[in-house]
């Protein structure tokens, strides 16, 4: 039973707060089932060269029902603002050819290091400014540093996507304080500004934790694609999004050092020490 509000990002009104990547599945069929099971509406894709020779002839688009999913192209693998902008423009062109509503949006990644795939705060800022100028709706991948995140928002990003931990590392949210400070900064006087925790999700509780911090959504890929049973994990992630979203809304109890009885001591027939 879902009682989630839609998530608004620029002109997009999104049903599911779980964004799922399309990479690294054992087969397109498993990908299809996992996406279906996850209940997601937004799926991310990468832009790459057509294999001009030796192609199996099957292409990703044949396996994505565009009447059902909104495609969010990324600029994964770009290490400079210039390359990221080129890839964003090519992605938009491809979307337009598919008449996909997502046409003018992009998940911007400008990476700073190949080993950690952590974002380059400078390049990301330049690319954001440029792409916003060119009419893009920019969802920008950032580190969990609140200041970098705020600067990306100030540059015009429609959404900031701080990393929980390195892409595909499965370490979850390593620094809850920073994610929480990102949320506080980005939503100051702008509570509906969308913040999506991106990268690092290893299992369902990571998703719940991110949402309980107040995130508006979570983007993941490897955590599902490389799970032993991707479809089951996709269902788990679906539940985890709801769980975390609702728990945040519900207002959790404060942590206490000591116990507080859930059954009353009043009316007890047993002997209580020291009484």
């Amino acid at each position: 039973m879902s009682v989630m509000q839609n998530l608004r990002i620029a002109k997009f009104d999104i049903r599911s707060r779980l964004f799922v990547g399309t990479g690294k599945y054992a087969s397109y069929e498993i990908m299809q089932q996992a996406l279906e099971a996850s209940g997601c509406q937004v799926v991310t894709v990468a832009v790459r060269r057509e294999r001009l020779v030796d192609k199996q002839g099957r292409s990703l688009l044949e396996f994505l029902d565009l009447s059902k999913y909104i495609i969010l192209p990324n600029t994964a693998g770009c290490f400079s603002a210039e390359d990221a902008i080129r890839v964003a423009i090519l992605g938009r062109e491809l979307l337009e050819k598919q008449k996909n509503p997502g046409a003018n949006w992009v998940k911007l990644e400008v990476l700073g290091d190949k080993k950690t795939l952590l974002p380059d705060p400078i390049g990301s800022l330049e690319a954001t400014k440029q792409l916003v100028k060119e009419g893009f709706t920019v969802l920008c991948y950032t580190s969990d540093d609140p200041i970098s995140a705020r600067r990306i928002k100030e540059a015009g990003a429609a959404s900031v996507m701080p990393a929980g931990s390195p892409i595909g590392s499965g370490q979850g949210v390593l620094n809850p304080l920073n994610i929480s400070l990102c949320l506080e900064t980005l939503k100051e006087n702008d509570p509906n500004y969308p913040v999506i925790v991106d990268a690092g999700v290893g299992t369902a509780s990571d998703v719940a934790v991110a949402m309980e911090l107040g995130a508006d959504g979570v983007l993941l890929n490897t955590g599902v694609a490389h799970a032993k049973d991707p479809v089951k994990m996709a269902i788990a992630m679906h539940h985890a999004i709801e769980a975390g979203y609702l728990a945040y809304q519900a207002g959790r109890i404060a942590k206490k050092r000591y116990a507080t009885a859930s059954s009353p001591f009043d009316g007890i027939i047993s002997h209580i020490p020291g009484e």
Binding site: G21, T22, R49, E50, L52, L61, A76, I89, L94
Partner: protein
């Protein structure tokens, strides 16, 4: 003439254009996006003749996160 397509050298008959290039690779224009010398080229301009040394990138969507 010799051009580069997706990073590989490629020999194209003089006067050849993007249409020719896509046809030669059995690619349908609406499934790919094309860059000519690092700038997007729209379908409407696929008939511009290519020049020797041109660099063409033909891309599509693949799985990614």
């Amino acid at each position: 003439m010799r051009i580069k397509v997706n990073g590989q050298d490629y020999d194209l008959p003089d006067g050849g254009d993007i249409h020719a290039l896509l046809a030669a690779h059995k690619l349908t224009p609406d499934k790919v996006a094309v860059e000519l010398n690092r700038r997007l080229i729209r379908s409407s301009q696929y008939d511009t003749p290519l020049k020797n040394g041109d660099e063409v990138e033909i891309v599509t969507f693949v799985g990614g996160g």
